[in-house]
């Protein structure tokens, strides 16, 4: 499949449903693979998407993941109905987590989620209202194909 215009879609996420943790991001990965995007672009997009997806599952009641892909970029927006983040600067610190103990025992909640998103996305925006929810926007730019023609 070759991308000429915008490809869009969405996934719904259910808070607490660990059995489907990563399902949306894995599906996004197979969609991006069908577009024959470079491996490292797919990796960066899906790693940041997975972290955002897990945050919804760990902390929120429900959420959605929207994606849109153009020849220039992948944009992923994850919005949740969750507790919100009172102090985003603190939440961005590596190692800071509010995940419950049993989630930490699963190997999540290491306080690496938001930093991983920021590291892997070219653009990372987060907006949160306590008691309402959090929205994360991730953009990964797709490098222009190099032409082999002289």
């Amino acid at each position: 499949m070759k991308l000429s215009e915008t490809l869009e879609g969405s996934f719904s996420l259910i808070g607490g449903d660990f059995s489907r943790g990563g399902a949306a991001s894995c599906e996004l990965k197979s969609i991006l693979e069908k577009l024959h995007l470079p491996d490292n672009i797919i990796q960066r997009a899906t790693i940041s998407a997975f972290e955002a997806e897990m945050n919804v599952i760990i902390h929120a009641i429900a959420g959605t993941m929207l994606y849109s892909v153009t020849p220039e970029r992948i944009r992923i927006v994850v919005t949740d109905m969750g507790p919100g983040i009172p102090d985003i600067e603190l939440a961005m610190q590596e190692g800071y987590s509010t995940a419950p103990e049993w989630v930490k025992e699963m190997g999540w909640g290491a306080g690496m989620g938001l930093p991983n998103m920021k590291k892997n996305a070219d653009v990372f925006n987060i907006d949160s209202v306590v008691g309402e929810g959090t929205t994360v926007e991730l953009i990964i730019y797709i490098p222009k194909e190099r032409s082999c023609a002289p």
Partner: protein, 110 residues
């Protein structure tokens, strides 16, 4: 080194039916899933004692072909089912993580 050789050398017990006998150059050891997402490299084997179903999604996203579960831990049935579906091989061993990683390191660097 081929995955098949690693399996017989470390005497790993396969829990999924099939695996791709691909070349393995390195491994990553961690029980923190975000750490694996951040730092494991595609194609590496993953050594962990986590057994729940999310390890399969992490392996799938990172193109990790095989997971070695240490300390004789038994993965959830759901984990095995999902792994078979996604083509991720899962093995278990009674070795500790330290021993499994140590033996594999020796094997891959000698």
């Amino acid at each position: 080194m081929n995955l098949g050789k690693i399996i017989s050398f470390l005497n790993l017990k396969p829990l999924t039916e099939t695996y791709q006998d691909r070349d393995v150059k390195s491994a990553y050891v961690s029980d923190l899933l975000s750490d694996v997402m951040a730092n494991a490299k595609p194609g590496e084997v993953w050594i962990t004692l986590q057994v729940h179903v999310n390890i399969v999604a992490v392996a799938t996203l990172k193109n990790i072909p095989a997971i070695i579960i240490t300390n004789n831990r038994e993965p959830d049935e759901e984990t095995i089912k999902k792994a078979s579906l996604e083509g991720v091989a899962i093995f278990k061993t009674n070795l500790s993580t330290f021993e499994a990683a140590g033996r594999l390191y020796k094997l891959l660097t000698e």
